[in-house]
Symmetry: C2
Subunit: 436 residues, 2 copies
């Protein structure tokens, strides 16, 4: 398990090092949204600098009210006092892991949790830090982010029969790494199983507003069908590209258990991070209120992410990969025949073809299934100007820097089946490497 | 142990509730610096809003270099790569607790730690979350922040004889709650003991720049005498009143062990908080470079904290309390005769005299010793204008709102010895309560 703590870091550092030494690497390994901050948020941050008091651990009332409104507009009426803010939804997920099921006065037995396989790198790594053992359950074929409910049931019953305490199950809607959105039927069935087994559902919905086509792939939250046991986490790192600002929000169940969980979560939060940076909270309150300019920005971002993720999936498919069409966010999770493991595949893509991705093993996937996570959001450009052109243009794929990267990728993938270095790769030291 | 997780929160919420209901309470329970943000830092924050990438987990290079310069100017030459930044030094202390001594691949045995008794509320609470058992060792009489070195030695040898693993000892220089600075001899002796027992020293120096009179009370860091085993944590919450901005820094030992600790700390950080808010990091880099205007601001703050803390200590002394003169920060820790416990004392001060403080038990002190922590920094005023007047005035004690609070306190304390409600308190419902 130890390796998962820094697999992403190590991969990204490796890519950065190669680039510094002049090697050309197409960086498809990092889940950063790759877009500039909306000017209205810059203005709010600047105005709020004087907010320097420690403030409430749960977050500013204005932010909690705005986040409550955000969920209420999505048919989840929300009490602002059951919203807890943190410096990134990652911190909240960690705090929840400690707080869920911890008995009062005894923090060291949070109980084990069920994770989808594959799932985001940090869930299992966080679990390791606090001594929670993850139970990895595969997602249904063609889906992602929600562990197969019937397998959850048997895995939990089996673990409990062995004396283990299992308290929670995690879902990611839509999913990182697969880019897929679990079907409503799957979410409903998970809710039934969770209710039968008395599991808390942690629903990581940080990509919710980036579902590419909400008509074609309707979004159902576990909180819609099992509100009494679902905690939702979200944030602005993806929809508004504010990863570096560190802001996340959690919505707790509107039940006595939810209130008790709030108290434990606040106790943990107060001892680890206190609260998100106060000026950031003010700007986030503006964003969660969803004024028109912010809604438009997210609409534009969603279109761009969808267009580029699908174009990249298309390149992989044409090269012979098995890849489900991305349905949300900016990821795809292709499987490539002819490789023995995802590590070998990722290494080959990097060393011989100049394409940086993360192996499926980083997401807890079977080492022998040759799948990699491809993040497409760093293709929009190197500068704010390029990125804004991609965001606002009618045809981002025709922008020279985007088209050039896609061509480079296509050539790299062409070499994969022959296992020869691609032409782009062979020429990589002939001319000085461009900035990207 | 559970209660320590939220004693401060509960006390502060109780005070806020009483004030909302119209009760007058002099708020001396909260360790917030109570001063406005320096305009140069507001400008840096506003300029850095566009910094929205996730960035390095260790922190921006500019910030790490500035913090390295800060320590280098204090005769601790520092490699910027051995600086790790976090959202508040609290988060770094938590991360260190997990990372220190954790064997690679096994995070759940961080080993126990020695804490001074009394010490800041969060050390023991953090330890509880990760399953570290604190060993509380009293400070030498008249000192604070450093556990008595000879008692540390015997306590650690005793614990080890019982099979416990003890890996670290913590010091707070200068101290919260006592407001005292450990003497250089005590620090030297602690370093010797730590070396003999192979303990890491965590030196929390967040109040370092607020030592009231560095000539009279010279500052010695454990890192000056045991650099190979000392981790320093610091931040800008106290010296520059940036608590709500959440920024802290840690300096790791310049040894192979220090580099290994860095890797583990980064692994933990990357899974819990990622990095401090990027715009805040840019502003903090400016502050840690210590340009003249920032140095002057800290000088002014130090003078104000010293003046008011001593004036409050004087009021306690005149009322018959046993109180050591504060030497740093904005706290004092008086003992008042005639009470059976610190809880009873704090409750009486709040219920009968309208003065909110924290009982010594919140800091792990003996329940039967009737000591309370008094924080004096919320006396500077309610508005930015009042606080700036206190900061820049030649005689802050003569400002009407400061003088009035001190008079109120004096009257309240006068009633303590008679155990009668004070006159101020008896009249508290006769007129509408003022804002504070």
């Amino acid at each position: 398990m130890h390796v998962t703590l820094s697999a992403t870091l190590a991969a990204n550092e490796d890519i950065a090092r190669r680039r510094r030494s002049g090697e050309r690497v197409l960086h498809l390994a990092f889940g950063e949204a790759g877009l500039p901050v909306h000017p209205a948020l810059l203005a709010r941050l600047a105005d709020a600098g004087g907010s320097n008091g420690y403030g409430e651990v749960a977050g500013l009332a204005a932010l909690r009210e705005a986040a409550a409104g955000y969920w209420s507009r999505r048919e989840l009426p929300t009490d602002p006092d059951l919203v807890v803010c943190g410096p990134g939804s990652k911190s909240l997920l960690f705090g929840l892991l400690v707080a869920i099921g911890a008995d009062p006065g005894e923090w060291r037995s949070p109980g084990d949790m069920v994770l989808p396989m594959p799932s985001w790198v940090s869930y299992a790594a966080q679990a390791e830090i606090v001594g929670v053992r993850p139970i990895l359950v595969p997602t249904p074929a063609g889906e992602g982010g929600v562990p197969d409910p019937d397998q959850v049931r048997s895995a939990v019953l089996h673990a409990r029969a062995q004396g283990r305490t299992v308290r929670s199950v995690l879902a990611t809607l839509p999913d990182n790494p697969t880019g897929r959105l679990a079907r409503p039927e799957t979410v409903r069935r998970l809710a039934e199983v969770a209710r039968e087994l008395d599991l808390v559902i942690i629903s990581d919905e940080i990509y919710r507003d980036l579902v590419h086509d909400p008509q074609a792939t309707p979004f159902l939250s576990p909180a819609d069908v099992a509100p009494e046991r679902t905690v939702i986490t979200s944030g602005l790192s993806k929809s508004l590209a504010l990863g570096g600002w560190r802001i996340g929000v959690a919505r707790l169940p509107h039940t006595p258990d939810g209130w008790a969980l709030r108290q434990r979560l606040l106790a943990v939060a107060s001892e680890i991070w206190s609260a998100p940076a106060a000026p950031v909270q003010h700007a986030a309150a503006y964003a969660f209120a969803e004024p028109e300019e912010i809604v438009e920005r997210i609409d534009d971002s969603r279109r761009l992410h969808a267009t580029v993720a699908r174009a990249v999936a298309d390149r992989f498919a044409r090269a012979g990969a098995k890849v489900d069409v991305p349905q949300g966010g900016f990821y795809l999770y292709p499987q490539i025949p002819g490789f023995d493991s995802s590590d070998e595949l990722a290494r080959t893509l990097l060393d011989r073809h100049g394409v940086g991705v993360l192996p499926g093993t980083a997401f807890g996937d079977e080492p022998r299934s040759a799948r990699v996570r491809v993040a497409t959001s760093l293709l929009y450009g190197e500068t704010a100007e390029q990125r804004l052109a991609a965001l606002h243009g009618s045809d981002p794929l025709s922008l020279p820097w985007v088209a050039e990267s896609l061509d480079y990728l296509e050539e790299a993938l062409g070499g994969l089946t022959t296992k020869e270095p691609s032409r782009a790769r062979r020429g990589m030291f002939l001319a000085p490497a461009p900035a990207r």
